[in-house]
Amino acid sequence: MILVYVDHDRGEIDPLALQVVSAARGLDDDVQAVIVGPNAEKCADELGSVGVRTVHHGTHSSISDYAPLASARAVLTVMERTDPRAVLAAGTPRGSEVLAHIAAIRDLPLVTECSEITLTGPDTAEVTRARWGGNLLERSKVTGAPLLATAQAHAFAVVDEPGTAQVEAFDVPVTDADVQVGIVDRTGAAATGVGLAEAKVVISGGRGMDGPEAFAMLEELADILGGAVGCSRVVTAAGWRPHAEQVGQTGTKVAPELYLAFGISGATQHIAGCKSAKTLIAVNTDGQAPIMSHADYAVVDNLHTLLPVLIEKARAAKGA
């Protein structure tokens, strides 16, 4: 049996958890899920549709919202009862920390960012996992049972397996220390424009923008195309743009129809964030810049003179 920790936010299931269920079904037909806290029972229908037949729903009067250690205790409780061969979760901040707590408490190895998992023996497994934001793949052998692993986002496709999940409620034996660190508040960043991660068009600027001023032109172009503005780390480190706009390994990963890179050289850590773009256009004065080998279309030109012309023509084309 494979156990999956399924995260939800006040009843909204984490869509990546469905990918993890499908990854788990690749290992064993018997996939069970653990969900924790109020409103979680709403997730059971969706879990049933991807092949989960048993959902363990952990509650306790002191669990009112997500608390990492309380979730870990819930999974540990089910682990004791059901002795799973592996425990999986999505590689989100929450999935990762819940599994890290379990790994620490049980002194087990934990492999993260997996894109392939094979169980090779009663206490051995082989995995393929991403390093350097996906620029490198690692193959590793893990010794320990159960296997603890998190899945890389979008590495596993969701496979429908319609059916009904039985919900089994249980009490999570939490102490005050287990709920000491938990969500106390949420601050919704008032949505301004299009969200970077979901944008269909991302217009990014790098060091070649020479300062914050020229980003007004990227905003204008983004406005015309209904897209979002992105940037490189050089730009956020200089304070020209907020970190929320940084694309890359330590920024946001984007997967737009079109990624337009102005004055960005194409360091691996930047490419880690934009390599899923369907079409990449690079504008750079240097025709040999590394970004060119990732680009579908190249413009070797000065962005400061090109942008005003491009904006004018794009606006005219839109009106037409």
Binding site: A104, P109, I183, R186, A237, V299
Partner: protein, 252 residues
Amino acid sequence: MEICVCIKRYPSLGSAIMLTDDGMAIDTDKLGFTLSPHEECAVEAAVQLKEEHGGTVTLISMGPEGVEEQIREQFAIGADRAIWIHSDSTDVDPQAAAKAIGDAIEADGTAFDLILLGSESADNANAQTGVRLAHRLGRPVATAVKGMTIADGVATCERAVGTMREVYQVPLPAVITVKDGLNIPRYPSVPGRIKARKKPIEEVPANLDAPRIELLGLTAPIRESKGAQDLGAGEEAADALVDVMKQIGVLS
């Protein structure tokens, strides 16, 4: 405030990754080294807290010869002292690494109010050293933090999820793992660099458990150049760009 920051040395990859012939490591022969933005932000946060509350900032780095370089750079922006855990590689099994760092903190004996780490290492993103260390030391932990304020012995931490922010409160002493974007790390000043030369680095051996995750090999996914189509320059390029945008359906 006594603050400890765990920093790790990484090769500066640039635009291509070369592996050693046996495919077991990155060929670092021609590469420089650096820190991860996550850890740079952790050190910056520690130095800001020291400036506000007083105290000392202790760095811990585990790795072979060479890690002094990154330690001295962070001395230059304001860290005070360091513990260098000698190991053959920076690439240590995460379970063993967390234990060795915990051992070093206990042996040092400083009662750290706050221990900061990156949320995940740049090379292997194990995303677990901080949580394991917290359990080892019996401290509460918050992870992947992108905003932090400390008042009355409590750290209020924000973490980004999509366009929302989750808020957590963690009583000190605590372990907190942070992300790029927490702050804008400063550049070292010239006086900072001069002072950095004299700050103490204490060297301790690593007593590492056998790894439970055994590397079988690395591969760099084959990335064929897409053979970018040259759209020219100036007006000609602007016209061609508009055509491409229409063609792929993002401009109509």
